[in-house]
Point group: D2
Chain length 412, copies 4
């Protein structure tokens, strides 16, 4: 039996344990930084498997498994749920109103635990150190930061590489990889601009912030349309504009909430600089009596795969999985805080995606041109990964990627 | 003793009763359509004075005093308080948290009751029918309408003329009159425009209602700047714009609250037509998937004094008051629902203003150029009419205006 | 025979001479600052009438007639034609292609010469000094300034008052007067904003002046819609916007031509200040690499009649003309440079209008609601004052207004 | 001597003839569709070389060289100059004021003639048919169309493939190829929007086209910023906006000139559809009295290399040139009408670029970060390809690409 069959068979054996874990996490979602029960369960499992376990950054967990000489590989999963009320009708639906694993972090945990178990049970197949890291609060970009700020870098061995994956609404069994940007940098920005309030019948006594904010919104369109090199990726969305509460009072301020997404740091910086320049200029044009306020929040770093690391795991996936299952993924416009962890160590990383939709259902939707409407995406109250083969595939990717570094014979 | 001295003297005699009424009303403010105690007290007083009293339109009251042959004159006061927490520090301050007679309706009631008493007690000085009307809910444009809808026109004798006055932050003792527009028509309009929601990173799948609403706000500026004849009065304020709640979700709609003020019906109609045209055009330009919605509310009619009626009461005021107390008032940009009542009868009306600020304080503020900052205006939590001579003056104006029609010898 | 009949009769006698002058001027129009033949003819006529004549400011003429003790009165006419090709089909049409007296300055000259003749021939009816001033280049706001800069104030006796009139498309025989503003201040402003040129496919290398100028145009709408007190007069028109010449080159600048009209100096100043603020702010918002340039041109002063002077001539007109011919004129939105002359002397002035349309034709157009389309206005190639009674009326107004100051018995 | 050396040596021999041709064309530029002398010279040369020559589409030329059995290959050069006044100071500068070969078409002609000569002189090295096509008026997108409309497809043998190249400001000797889009589709669009003219002081009688056009410009920004999928290429430039000529007249129309560049037909269509929708919606919002007019002109098709053809010539270039000279070219935002010719035949094509800047000068500019300012680009009056090695390289690319299809042994 070759290595691939051996891995496949071993994972098949532990699958009912993983499925139970998956359903358990799904039934018991916990919001970011409050993953207390989730964290306790993971600790328990990791300790059962023989890992040295530490809590870092509140509910964050690191399990370390030392297995002789060799590289150190860190694999990461996220643990937090979303403030969404589940509407899937699944037998194992969330039992917590207003909270749901609608982004697949339950699958990430169950598969990383699965890989941790495989590696603990097959020490002959590898040597080195395996680190299974479970982080809190990915959705608010707070969890990776919390672990780093709590001393992660000093508390565990320095890895050579960091690995992570995400389930997404593609065909279950399919695995997407790419070098370079795979997820965008995401920045949220709250802008408050000031006018001068007045009765609605006295506009000449006011500086009208409704007009000011509207002018800013239109002018911000030029950041993408005129200031970004055509064909390069930049998104600037004003997701919220609020000013005033009644028709006949001119309010004294307006608030805009902006979301910025980019793949290139230079473009990100230019977008941010241009926003500042436009908002200040518009405030001056309007005669605003007070400087505008800029407050960044929910900032996600760029996720940009190391070329070598991506090549290594892609080759390993291609060797392990049947032809056609590994494909080149286009960068997605979503964001992640995973890269905060390798960046803290100054190490390369690879991040890949795993499909989670019933293959037949997905094919039918593609044929009908109804993917957008028929396949619930992450964050939807209807998001429901098909357990099989998602669980197997995503466990095998974690194992195969780790063994690409740690496996006997892998190490040059 | 001439007529003027006689009126002055009579009113002086009943002044302590009026003052007590004024302070009572001030201490016990009631919001629009909930003026139950206020209404009960007025009924009681009017009945004591010998008026036939009816409740019309909920808390509205009409008191009719018949005194032989002659014209029918209707005088109106309003009764509702504002949702303002008083901050004057007056001994007779509001005893109701969150409610205050900050617009002087208490003064209007006390002076109309004063005039009612004078006319009841001086029947030899006039003949005809005097109707004292107290309406609810002026502030929300609901009260006059409620009385008319409850059959006002059929329940009382048809008047020749309707009279009303308003206290304002001018020198107490001063009386302002004008022919034609004295208060603007005021219309509130709620506009909902529809986009197509999407994740903030997927603008191409959206129709962005934030951009759409912003474009509408800018384009609406042209209604005054380009479509209204220069020098003619029109105000179009977007007092509120709200769309979206988070940075990274493009919402599916935006809401604008507009306030429109005009003195000329043709201009009002053009403004309204232009708003519809602009909003519909902008929605089409944006590719909005659904027709915009327009909902008018809080609509105040134009208050435009009948030329003859105004000339009659102005002449009567000039004959009664010392020279220099009656002046030509410029139209104000505020609005009223008083005209709904004479319009229901199809009769002319006259509406005038009475100053209510301590004369010395007002003169000092004028000299210092600090009227805007030092003299609290209507609706301010610091609004505090000086009782004397406001009470006397405003009672005498009601009496003198009524006698201009009803007084012995007044009737040609 | 009373004074009025006497004036009327005298003017009737000189009418054929005036009519010949009018047709002569109409046939021989000369553009601003080039009124050489016109000027020569007027000098000749004034000298024939016994006036001391000086050329001031190039083609400008002042004729002085001293007639004993008494006030000094200056009456002014303008002389320049417009660059319009006449299309009236009149027998006495312009004989100069591309030039036409389309604004009635020919009538102004013929009637001022008529008044000059009357006063020269009726010295017993008045005493004092009469100054007939003919200025060049009214249309470009250059002529009055040219005369003042050439030393007008030092070259002639200082008048007590200055008088001027203008024919307009109202019923011939009608005379409009008003105190205060009668013509607006008019300012033209050329604004150049700078971008950075680039190939049309490289917007990120440009600062796009087309977008910048467009944003300025929209933002300038708020000067009237939000910054001007509702009901007060202010017009801000961007009459021209030009940028670029080809589709695929982003140009490096844009030019806007603005016209500003106001009646109140404070409003004019605020409009001008706001334009500067908005343009500078928008340039900053756009990242413009170079300060915008502002160049005022064709600036017309406010024409605002002195209250006393207007009252005096209005009373004189009402005494002289039949009832109903003198009416209160609303301010017009046109502009004039006449006031430059009295302002140079620091003296009051009165300016009035005289109708010039066939009365029946005007009444028919009013009845049909077709005044705007059927009555050619000043500057139209179809502008054609009806000679009678325009010529008589406008000559009599000049005589009557002068005699209000100079007439025997007029002087208190 | 291998094939590569043989080609290189042969071209070296004919180089002085080519250099003379190049300088001749450079000295004698002719604008599009007027390439009479240029066309005559090329005919002469082709006939001398033994080609069957036809004039097609006015000044267009096709020379056919039949050499036994085998594929038919068409290679194309363009002939027209630009309306630019040369400022290079070169000894062989343009002798025609206001015309210059500022885009390198002179080099294209000299190198295609060079390839034609090589193939005529080395018939033993290939078999099949070689077609050298010289088209007029590339700059205005009129020339390829003119040839097709004049029956090109029926007048010459149908080729298997079409080839073309362009010199560009990269290091001379470097050759760029790519599969798929290499040049954008380019569309110019003239839009006329209608308002209603009025005097500048009467905005209420107007529909202001300056405001309308400005609003359109701002709204058009959303086509790229909101309607185009982030990261996909679309440029929409308003290169010119013109409305009105004087400050105080509101004009009755405005004209916008747009340039659209895209790589994807679906995006191009959406951009065009959105422009129509936005312009129509804005006209409706403004109350425009007349439908806007849309007129497309100067439309350049997409240049998108056939994958197989590109692979074939790229492999041939890599085999022929030293390592490192052939690189993957990013798509450029410029446009071409070359593809009109293969599209007319329904055949694949390959288009590549050849650098033309002195290598040392280019390297220095890169090092100094001054490429944009120091290296004159196509269309600049300073554009001056270095003759060597540009001429050799670009002749060799034409020969090598042709032999990839025609060469002995090339044909499977």
């Amino acid at each position: 039996m070759g290595a691939a069959q051996e891995i496949t068979a071993s994972i098949e054996e532990q699958l009912s344990w993983q499925e139970e874990l998956y359903k358990h996490f799904h039934r018991n979602p916990e919001l970011g930084l409050k993953e207390h029960e989730t964290s306790a369960r993971i600790c328990e499992e990791l300790e059962d498997l023989g890992y040295e376990v530490q809590l870092i950054g509140g509910t964050g967990i690191v399990g370390v498994l030392r297995n002789g000489e060799g590289p150190v590989v860190l694999a990461r999963a996220d643990m937090d749920a979303l403030p969404v009320t589940e509407d899937t009708g699944l037998e194992y639906s969330s039992e917590v109103p207003g909270a749901m694993h609608a982004c697949g972090h339950d699958m990430h945990m169950a598969t990383l635990l699965g890989a941790a178990k495989y590696l603990a049970g097959n020490k002959e197949a590898w040597s080195g150190t395996y680190i299974a890291l479970f982080q809190p609060a990915e959705e608010t970009a707070a969890g990776a930061k919390a672990m780093v700020e709590d001393g992660l870098v000093d508390k565990i061995p320095k890895p050579q590489v960091a690995l992570a994956q995400h389930v997404m609404p593609a065909e279950a069994g399919m695995i997407g990889t790419t070098a370079g940007p795979i997820l965008s940098a995401g920045d949220c920005l709250r802008i408050t601009v000031h006018g001068r309030g007045a009765h609605g019948s006295m506009p000449h006594n006011s500086v009208d912030p409704v007009v000011l904010a509207s002018s800013i919104v239109l002018k911000l369109q030029t950041v993408v349309s005129r200031e970004t090199q055509p064909g390069h990726f930049a998104v600037l969305t004003v997701g919220s504009l609020t000013a005033g509460t009644t028709a006949n009072i001119i309010p004294d301020r307006a608030q805009l909430l902006l979301n910025i997404r980019t793949y290139e740091p230079a473009i990100r910086q230019r977008v941010i600089d241009s926003i500042h320049r436009i908002v200040r200029g518009e405030c001056q044009a309007a005669g605003s009596p007070k400087e505008p306020e800029f407050e960044f929040y929910d900032q996600f770093p760029l996720t940009s795969n190391d070329e070598t690391a991506n090549a290594k795991i892609t080759a390993a996936f291609e060797a392990h999985f049947p032809e056609g299952q590994v494909y080149h993924a286009d960068p997605a416009t979503a964001s992640e805080d995973f890269s905060t962890i390798p960046d803290a160590f100054g190490i390369p990383y690879a991040y890949w995606t795993v499909g989670c939709v019933d293959p037949q259902k997905y094919k039918d939707a593609v044929a009908a041109g109804t993917v957008a409407s028929d396949i619930p995406a992450n964050h939807s109250p209807f998001f429901a990964p098909v357990i099989h083969p998602t669980l197997q595939t995503a466990t095998r990717t974690q194992v195969v990627a780790a063994l690409a570094y740690l496996g006997t014979g892998a190490q040059e």
